[in-house]
Symmetry: C2
Subunit: 338 residues, 2 copies
């Protein structure tokens, strides 16, 4: 009879105070067997025919802007419409219509793609710190444009890298979806952060004492593994100064962020062998009730996907993480970038 | 220049009133290309060495009970401890301890596995209606046992089928995790359903008018595609009579549920070519404030995984579903089972 081996460390349940949700930590889980053949990490086809590559601009949906602004063949970044959008800029915004108690609105919104390099094989972590900073500034510029639409309530900037993190295109890119609603996870985050503020008089991110969770820091940002990380080796990059909106980022800070973000991506990639990951910018809705201002603080999340999720996570919203954040932070701190 | 083709139907944003979250519907999304090699659906190894098979009971963590109770080699269902548990029955329950504003509790809880057949190749949909009913009754029996532990607040029953739905073992099984906390998605569901009750005086599930969303029905249950389905071809099975807890299920209803559940699994499997899926039982916490009783109503969710999720869903909690529920319901209604 196979006895459960004594796990090196007892499981623990931690509360993510930013999102007000629980995460289960259990190192024993990482030792479970799988009788499925190893999931081969799908590799990109070596397409000569990628629409995001320089020279293929005509295969893409319309361009919104490029960086540098007046460049021709030598562009560095292009912000374009998504050809298969989840929401449509051509629909009118409607107020919720209600039928039999069910609520639906037209799928008005903007769904854009940010192509981060003209070269197919260049990853975000291959860019220079200032080039990563320029990508951040391209995000910022597009968010500021979207702010001009009255009915856009929230913009989600996200990056899918690798097929298991959802990517369908391998050429380095991010996406932005501008929504006419405030998404549930965003509302929950705002409420949870305001609750912390009410109790302590402090912003929950300004008040973080990273200690053993710290990975690194720069002039304007710190990077750490959050206390109740949802994913193994998850990383947050948090601006030191209190700021509710990502698009408050200025040029100097963008450049500084570029350096720290590049370093975190390199460390993750080296330690975890170029894992699939998502990069998420958690910001505030455009019009946020003034009572939220002192407690909302934007940050950036890097979520590697070392294992999939299952029914438990879908049903409960609780994730199971086999790696304690202190251990992940130590490992990431110790990765040497040459 | 590739123009975005006019999608057959405009995107729409719908509110799931049970969970109080938004879902984006966009048929155009289903036409986007992928430059990753097709994700080969990992196939199970044809192991002769599966610990869940009859004859290998000694390779498993301890048994809790079997069905029939006094069977020896001829058992039909076994409920056993999970050898690599996410929570531990050996830990003491602690009240939340707080360090630097961070909240953690010991990982006390129960993590069990329900082996649904002694035979490796038998899927849940291969069982007879009454055998599926017996699996439901095994869930119920174990939930009732767990109710005796004061510190267990909620039990999540879930099934992972197929590697992309999280399964690490291919032998048909489900799992149950008993938690010392109420998970966030469960609290949100309870609150949202109570809000509907406050506004209408009715339970949101008793009040459902399935109409074109109906797939089928039995004496005690209806099956439908929910108005704001999170996943393409998602199915809910809802008891007709108001009932807060899954473990109120009696023998007759379990048998009736077995028939409808088997039929839904067969239809899904036939239409979608045996897709990976999760089966989730959404019930209420054991001790639920009496004010929730008239509005909480348990149900069963079948969530096929036809595509993965990406950063947008992780960041916002909004899913993107390329198939309108009315269309999915029509297709599932029309699948003929011989
Ligand atoms: N020629 C062209 N011009 C303009 N745009 C083009 C184009 N060809 C393709 N595109 C768009 O480029 C985008 C590439 O995005 P990603 O690779 O990050 O993932 P995708 O959005 O496909 O889905 C992942 O992310 C979403 C959101 O998280 C999840 O819903 C989904 O399940 C997951 O696979 C696609 O949205 C596609 O529509
Ligand atoms: N000999 C033995 N005796 C007893 N138990 C044994 C055993 N050998 C293996 N087990 C257990 O059997 C279970 C099989 O479960 P599943 O295949 O449904 O998915 P798993 O829990 O691995 O993870 C999926 O589901 C969880 C929860 O949703 C996600 O966290 C995860 O990412 C996803 O892959 C495992 O939990 C394993 O620990």
């Amino acid at each position: 009879m196979a006895e459960a081996e004594a796990p090196n460390r007892s499981p623990e349940i931690r509360k993510d105070r930013i999102h007000n949700r629980w995460v289960l930590f259990s190192p024993a889980r990482s030792r479970r067997p799988s009788d499925f053949k190893a999931k081969s990490n799908p590799q990109p086809n070596n397409k000569t025919e990628c629409p995001f590559c320089a020279g293929h601009e005509h295969e893409c949906a319309p361009e919104i802007f490029r960086v540098p602004a007046n460049s021709t063949a030598d562009w560095k970044i292009r912000v374009i419409q998504n050809l298969f959008p989840a929401v449509s800029r051509e629909l009118d915004f409607q107020n919720p219509v209600s039928a039999l108690g069910d609520v639906a609105v037209s799928g008005f919104g903007f769904h854009d793609v940010v192509i981060e390099s003209p070269v197919h094989s260049v990853n975000m972590s291959d860019l220079s710190p200032s080039q990563v900073g320029e990508v951040m500034l391209a995000f910022k510029k597009r968010v500021e444009q979207l702010q001009n639409y009255d009915n856009v309530k929230y913009v989600q900037v996200f990056k899918n890298h690798g097929a298991s993190a959802g990517a369908s295109m391998s050429h380095s890119h991010s996406q932005m979806i501008a929504l006419p609603i405030v998404p549930p996870t965003v509302s929950a985050r705002l409420d949870s952060m305001r609750e912390y503020y009410k109790q302590t008089g402090k912003c929950s991110l300004c008040d973080i004492q990273p200690n053993e969770l710290l990975i690194d820091q720069s002039a304007h940002f710190i990077s750490l593994v959050p206390f109740a990380a949802t994913f193994a080796f998850e990383i947050w990059i948090i601006p030191r100064d209190h700021s509710s909106h990502f698009h408050e980022l200025d040029n100097e800070k963008a450049n500084d962020l570029g350096g720290l973000l590049k370093l975190m991506l390199l460390k993750m990639s080296l330690q975890l062998n170029n894992p699939p990951f998502n990069l998420l910018i958690h910001t505030s809705p455009f019009q946020v009730d003034p009572s939220y201002a002192p407690s909302t603080h934007w940050f950036l999340q890097i979520a590697p996907h070392l294992s999939g999720v299952g029914g438990f996570e879908i049903a409960t919203g609780c994730h199971i993480n086999p790696v304690f954040p202190e251990d992940a932070a130590k490992i990431l701190r110790d990765v040497r970038i040459l």
